[in-house]
């Protein structure tokens, strides 16, 4: 049978040697291990919204002009 007193000391030493970093890595790996297998290991980078000319829209809506296209009576439209 295992010597419990000796094992108790070994466990004490084992836990003393664990750092905050080592235990956090271990716990995260256990809890997110499957996700890491899926997406790979690496650093997460926050996605920032960047406005660039190629994606920006220079056309401005002109609601007043658009309303003027309609040939229906504004009163009837409200009733509908």
């Amino acid at each position: 049978m295992v010597d419990l007193d000796k094992l108790d000391k070994e466990i004490e030493e084992l836990l003393e040697n664990e750092t905050s970093d080592s235990l956090t890595k271990w716990l995260l790996n256990r809890r997110l291990g499957n996700i890491n297998n899926l997406i790979g290991k690496g650093t997460f980078i926050g996605m920032q919204s960047k406005r660039e000319s190629v994606f920006s829209c220079s056309q401005k809506a002109n609601f007043k002009t658009k309303d003027s296209y309609t040939d229906s009576n504004p009163i009837n439209r409200n009733a509908a």
Partner: protein, 165 residues
């Protein structure tokens, strides 16, 4: 000669010649071969949780308990086990800011080859099966399981019976 323990599995048409290792998330003593000490609990487990094929198998085996951490009947072992679980929980919580589960602590000790110094751990909880109790509204009987880490200790592993769900 060891004690008799019972192992429950779904019936899939062929007999097992060795137990199946359990890696499930609810296997809270970590990866191991799980056995019931009581035939009634093995049967209940089959009916309740191993019922997908309509039948379940209960196997029995002889397992010596001379190198098992007996947290059920041995006071010294129980105190030792509680001390290590609480010590690890405290350290992990303080270091990571997150409370570990019991399974995580036991897996930690398995990975660090602490629990593997034992052939297995005997532990208990309370059965949910009302049929096997002789008194009203009180679960007085321990439900005892053995999580075995060293499968070389198993002898006479044979099919005990097949039940229908």
């Amino acid at each position: 000669m060891g004690r008799t323990f019972y192992h429950t599995q779904e019936n899939r048409g062929t007999d097992l010649y060795e137990p199946i290792v359990c890696t499930a998330d609810n296997a809270w003593l970590g990866k191991g071969y799980y056995f019931w000490e009581n035939n009634d609990d093995a049967t209940f487990w089959g009916i309740k949780f191993k019922n997908k094929t309509g039948k379940y198998d209960v196997y029995k085996a002889e397992i010596p308990d001379d190198n098992v951490l007996d947290t059920v009947f041995n006071r010294q072992h129980y105190d030792f086990w509680i001390k290590q679980i609480e010590r690890a929980a405290k350290k992990i919580t303080k270091s990571t800011g997150s409370k570990p589960t019991l399974k995580e602590i036991n897996d930690f000790f398995l990975e660090k080859e602490v629990w593997t110094k034992f052939d297995g751990i005997l532990f208990q909880d309370i059965s949910q099966n009302p049929v096997h109790y002789m008194v009203k509204e009180f679960q007085y009987k321990k439900r005892i399981q053995l999580a075995l880490y060293n499968n070389s200790k198993i002898t006479n592993f044979v099919l005990h019976f097949t039940g229908e769900c």
